[in-house]
Symmetry: none
């Protein structure tokens, strides 16, 4: 997403956000309204929070502002500002051979794996700092066994779901 490095205001103030962007672009409300193809009174109302525009109007406004519609959707709370950190996420979402439910199952499992790995990485970091003396063998043996216990149960759950799909 293009808003990645940007400091986001509180979601919900889509009107303020639009006004900010417009003022940054140094165009009048009427100019934006014309460029966006919406009525200027309506745009005024939107900026002041009196009306709540549909996604399509947001899309038009985004075009007028020359920013991504997704940035406005995020501000309006229609989508989460979540982007794929990895190719796996992107690939799963893009795979046309999966149904939506299957896709979601895979995503959930993948995320839980990553959380698990991050927890382990944190635990390992702490253990490493505690064990200032050289002795990698104890930490190595502790890392392997807990993982085996966790993963099989995930398998079992993952495979019972797809039967519905």
């Amino acid at each position: 997403m293009q808003t990645r490095g940007m400091e986001l205001p509180k979601v919900g103030s889509i009107g303020e956000y639009i006004r900010d962007q417009r003022q940054q672009a140094k165009i009048s409300l009427r100019q934006l309204a014309t460029q966006a193809g919406v009525s200027n009174p309506y745009l005024s109302q939107i900026e002041r929070g009196l009306r709540k525009p549909s996604a399509e109007i947001l899309n038009q406004i985004a075009k007028g502002l020359r920013i991504s519609s997704q940035a406005l959707y995020v501000q309006a709370g229609l989508i989460d500002d979540r982007e794929p950190d990895s190719d796996v996420l992107a690939a799963i979402r893009a795979d046309q051979e999966l149904s939506e439910r299957q896709r979601q199952v895979l995503l959930d499992i993948y995320e839980s794996f990553r959380k698990e790995n991050q927890a382990e990485a944190a635990a390992e970091a702490e253990r490493t700092s505690q064990n200032a003396q050289p002795g990698p063998e104890p930490s190595g043996t502790d890392t392997v066994p807990p993982e085996e216990g966790v993963a099989p149960s995930r398998i079992g759950r993952g495979q019972s779901e797809p039967k519905e799909g």
Copy 2:
């Protein structure tokens, strides 16, 4: 629309898509409406293309279906389904954040999903070839009423065709 050469389902048939997802999940319209927190008549109208739901309603429906809201937004044409073309298998294998075991788990699940989908596609193809005559779907959905001949006339009279906007 920038589809990057990707073969997308026809955008705009959000109602069909929702009905498909609902039927895949094997829940009734009323059950989904309850789970989604929308009225069942409205959901019925949405599925039949009589109404055009807002993004918020789509979000609610997605929750009821347990799929991502983004999938519905894509179908409704609110966002572009712009994802990389990378392969799921390759991505999983290349992901350094996964342990070997986790990697294998995901691969196994992914493969079983694909097998399942292929089996379904084959079964559907066979079923389609057996039912050469047009008529109510014999796919086990006995709940589909045969009074479709009545409803379309109502549509024509009640309101003009919803504009694509």
